[in-house]
Symmetry: C2
Subunit: 343 residues, 2 copies
Amino acid sequence: MTIKDVAKYCGVSVSTVSRALNGHPDVSEDMRAKVIDAARLLHYVPNRSARDLASNQSDTLGLVVRGSTNPFFDPVMHAIESECNELGYGIVHRYIASDGDEIAAAAEFVQAKRLKGVILLGGRFDYSEEDAKSIGAPFVCCSYSNHFGDLPKEEYSSVSINDIAEAYKATKALIDLGHRRIAILLFSTDDKSISQLRFDGYCQALKDAGIEFDRNLVFETGTLSMSSAYEKVRGAIDSGIQFSAIFSIADTMAVAAMKAIFDTGAKVPDDYSVIGIDGIEMSLYTIPTLATLCQPQESMGREAARILVDVVEGKTKNQHVRLKTTQRPGGSMGPAKKVILAS
Amino acid sequence: MTIKDVAKYCGVSVSTVSRALNGHPDVSEDMRAKVIDAARLLHYVPNRSARDLASNQSDTLGLVVRGSTNPFFDPVMHAIESECNELGYGIVHRYIASDGDEIAAAAEFVQAKRLKGVILLGGRFDYSEEDAKSIGAPFVCCSYSNHFGDLPKEEYSSVSINDIAEAYKATKALIDLGHRRIAILLFSTDDKSISQLRFDGYCQALKDAGIEFDRNLVFETGTLSMSSAYEKVRGAIDSGIQFSAIFSIADTMAVAAMKAIFDTGAKVPDDYSVIGIDGIEMSLYTIPTLATLCQPQESMGREAARILVDVVEGKTKNQHVRLKTTQRPGGSMGPAKKVILAS
DNA sequence: GTGAAAGCGCTAACAA
DNA sequence: TTGTTAGCGCTTTCAC
């Protein structure tokens, strides 16, 4: 069942069918209706490969997801998905490891599939101009920005929260409750990525409050797995490290931290306060509910898609959008009860 | 940068380049090396559209995910993904709503992208022979089977647990602890899908134990959202319905149920025991840890991919694999403490 | 408003 | 072992 069959069935040429089906204006309405009916009747489905080849484009956008086991990405992906569909674009996915090279993946992806643009969901923050060029299509960094790179702002788009500021806010919330010995749970302090940025915000908040930074309170997991977060926190408490609060840079790890605390016999928030960043659905159901800064996942995805489409269609220049979080009170944070001396 | 450029650069014809790049045997090794080097040097990336169009196939498999907000699917998807890649196939996704028509989506998908096969992740259980035909490519039902349909077993593959038996097992675990008033938390009792099947297993277990079925203990959410599960359970307790245990057909809903119980002031497992089915990562971190029957998500995905590839390549007939769950003890189940009279 | 025909980049006979 | 060539199904000039 090809366009030829439809043409034959209607007694017209293939070009007419093509025009009718693609909404070109230079077809009589009668003809268009006839062709559309025939196509439906014959169960005709255009061959995307042929169409893409002939038109040398594809109306498809790529979505490169880095570290796809992150439940935070789920709602974002769905928002991207549906926004793209609504805007008339197809979307293809590529998953890469959380330490993979999203630039290389995107570049290959764009070429192989003749993509019009790419959304990078999760990635590094240190792109060079050459990196951007290699992708060969407009791209938007979703959920992160390019804080450490020297890539000019005009060459890419981004949608994210202000990681430093939000981490600062989370840490400050703990400080305001009287906590002084505040641990941070993160992947790495120098991954040139989201983790490092949030670490910076944490340090800044401590500094502004006159609290001395203590390397022992940095719980570095190296991965984003819940199990390693659990082990780190468990180990810290078991080994007698003194602290009264944890700022976790991701909800998943915060949830694991709460469990670890419970398993040592301690209580949240009585003995330890916990705050996260993300606002994943699951963290609404912990006991107590996790206090966290909720990222607007839905708008983050939609915004990224919208921007990409606009840029692809030449309607706008590249843009950089910073979204705000909303604080979820939760029950996992409470006032510091006792003064803890440095260990 | 097309195959022509590579050919010109190497001073050979395009067919030689094509053969060299595609691993055909009838090319001298010298030539192959030369071509491959040139391709790399020139950053040549084949145009998939052209390749697919010319070869009238695509080495790509489709993955239709129904109800993609289900965290249970995540690890399964990744397993499918990586297994397909290892077997040399690309994979494209299509997400549909949890009440969408996966057959129609798959059929269109296969035609439009000339897919060699499809994996359906989540779906109904009542396919007809016509449904199968309409897809027009081999397909495997992943995480579900076709229990209610009249589709001959030879016409499709499936990988799943035995829903009735596992639900029976979960319910029986509660009964063995002395519970008699056991509620079930599910989407629907007659959706011709996973929910209905697990409901059947629940009913059977009650019957075998001589426990009378009580419609009031069926908490039907209509959706798979955690919030509706929370509301149902909360509402049931608040309105005084008497029961001492809940079997939830999905971990997500079980987690929400535990929270609901806590919020009424009751305790798990002292006042209510909870057991789920799925074994999602998050449910390891509830307090107490959720007792559940863990589905082998990884093998489920790998198996589905492997079967599909085998069938596509004509190596085997369609297959039906039933995987076993492993019980996670958890701390959410305990002995029934008091005798509860029917409300 | 419609048709004829030239490709898009690649694969796969068929020749050589 | 390599080259020549005819399409794959579609879009898109360019005539009419």
